[in-house]
């Protein structure tokens, strides 16, 4: 008997199910499903995994876009505005810092407006010095910002010490303003709004100690002069009278010097000096902040990059576990296959 004859005979005698079995199976198969497939059933196994991957990617992108759109400024500020530093060089009394400096470039003028600008402590004599560099769009904006700076100084009861204004391919203006110390912080805040802050420096020196020392010296000198006047009235000889007059003249000269010194110190504490530099964008050396859309895209990309780093870290961390699980799965599958082969070979 040849192989072809065997094949023909096998095909010719193909088994068929008996009527009883057919009836039983068809009755069984016609019944409604035991349970309706749940969502979990429908999405099980590889299909669920294949669906989960794009779903997770879509969620990551959507969250990045959502955060980028709703908080476009956060990254810009964090990236370009270093932490503002406040340094106290020496202390006086329990809580008062005599010299405090605050400096730092800020890309967004809003960060410098109002709340972050320090001011003199009320009730203490302090010299307040601030320097501010701002970038403006073009020469027109430069002119307007200069005018508004002068106006701000006047509005706050101050005055302009000097103004230098120059325009060409790039424009720049340099203003020295003096405003009452009590309104210095307000002035810096308002001036900050005239452009994009490139750099800002605020210096506060405490002068109260010097003033107190000068007052003490003045008081002692006045007492000394009064004592000299009394001694002059009681002087008996011309020689003694001449010596007392000379001492009184020296004391009065010292008193004048001390008065002038005190007046200068009080004047320094009374008015703050603000040095304002205005430059057009080209000359500022700082890129202008992009549009809201650009910042939103930057923010979204930054978040996506962060998400990618997290996913990569997770992949690196879980890779050994996944490899072991894969090896175990493969070994179990191979073992089951061998067991089935043995079972079928032995039957």
């Amino acid at each position: 008997m040849t192989v072809n004859q065997i094949v023909d005979e096998l095909r010719a005698t193909r088994p068929t199910a008996g009527e009883a079995l057919r009836l039983q199976v068809l009755t069984l198969a016609s019944a409604p499903p035991v349970t309706s497939p749940s969502l979990g059933d429908r999405l099980r196994g590889r299909r669920r995994f294949l669906l989960a991957l794009p779903a997770a990617a879509a969620l990551a992108v959507a969250s990045a876009v959502a955060i980028g759109v709703t908080r476009p400024d956060a990254t810009t500020q964090e990236a370009s505005a270093p932490a503002t530093s406040v340094e106290a060089t020496r202390s006086i009394g329990a809580a008062q810092a005599p010299s405090t400096a605050l400096a730092g470039p800020t890309a967004d003028a809003s960060t410098a407006r109002g709340k972050t600008t320090p001011g003199p402590v009320p009730g203490r004599a302090q010299r307040y010095s601030a320097s501010l560099t701002l970038a403006v769009d073009d020469t027109d904006a430069l002119s307007e910002a200069t005018q508004r700076a002068l106006s701000i100084a006047r509005d706050l009861g101050g005055y302009v010490v000097s103004v230098q204004y120059a325009t060409g391919t790039e424009g720049a203006a340099s203003l020295t303003l003096r405003v009452p110390s009590a309104r210095a912080a307000d002035a810096v805040t308002r001036l900050s709004g005239l452009g994009t802050i490139v750099s800002q420096n605020v210096q506060i020196d405490d002068l109260q100690e010097s003033l107190d020392t000068l007052d003490g010296q003045l008081q002692r000198l006045r007492a000394q002069i009064a004592a000299l006047n009394v001694a002059l009235e009681r002087a008996d000889t011309a020689a003694e009278r001449a010596r007392l007059l000379e001492r009184r003249a020296q004391a009065q000269a010292q008193l004048s010097e001390l008065r002038a010194s005190r007046a200068a110190t009080a004047e320094a504490a009374r008015n703050a000096t603000i040095q304002l530099e205005l430059r057009t964008e080209e000359g500022s050396g700082v890129a202008a902040p992009g549009s809201r859309l650009d910042r939103a895209v930057d923010k979204a990309l930054a978040i996506l990059a962060w998400e990618a780093v997290v996913v990569l870290a997770l992949a690196v961390a879980l890779a050994p576990v996944a490899l072991v699980a894969l090896a175990v799965w493969g070994a179990r599958r191979a073992r089951r296959r061998r067991e089935e082969e043995r079972l079928l070979a032995a039957s």
């Binding site: 065997i6 088994p15 068809l26 069984l28 499903p33």
Partner: protein, 169 residues
């Protein structure tokens, strides 16, 4: 290009339709595997019970209903072989051969029937799938969980052995 598939390859709308089309295939396969008509009928019934529970998972894009049902039939048969093996080991008696009918396929010549009985279940199942049910190599490979090349090799060996046994007798 037609939007509808040909009738022969169109996936069944229900398990009842699939059972109508493929019950003979499932039964024939199980009969060749077990060499016992009664056992094959029991296993065929169990196969469709399982199929009813799993019908919601059937995906026509991943294979035909016939292949899917034969895969369930194979799993059911392997479970049966395992339990039989345990039972035989436990009782150390009542060998399977005692229950096997002399003629498990109607119409086969006695020498071919004897030769088939001498083959292993693994050899009989590849003959059943490829020769009797005329499944192609890929579908057979899917049912057996092996590569199409392995199917060809296994079929070639089984046919050669069957030919030898037939001609020996």
């Amino acid at each position: 290009m037609t939007l509808e598939q040909p009738l022969a390859t169109r996936p069944p709308a229900s398990l009842a339709e699939a059972a109508e089309d493929h019950l003979d295939d499932v039964f024939g396969y199980l009969l060749y595997l077990t060499r016992d008509r009664e056992t094959a009928e029991d296993l065929a019934s169990s196969t469709f019970e399982k199929a009813l529970r799993l019908w919601s998972r059937f995906d026509a894009r991943r294979g035909s209903a016939r292949t899917w049902l034969l895969g369930i039939a194979r799993t059911t048969a392997l479970d049966w072989f395992r339990s039989e093996s345990r039972r035989r080991r436990r009782e150390e008696a009542a060998a399977l051969s005692e229950r096997v009918e002399e003629s498990f396929v109607e119409g086969l010549s006695p020498e071919l029937e004897t030769a088939l009985a001498s083959l292993s279940a693994g050899e009989r199942e590849v003959l059943a799938l490829r020769i009797v049910l005329e499944l192609d190599g890929d579908a057979t490979a899917r049912v057996l969980g092996i590569s199409p090349t392995a199917v060809s090799t296994r079929l070639s060996r089984a046919l050669k052995r069957l030919e030898e046994r037939v001609n020996e007798g």
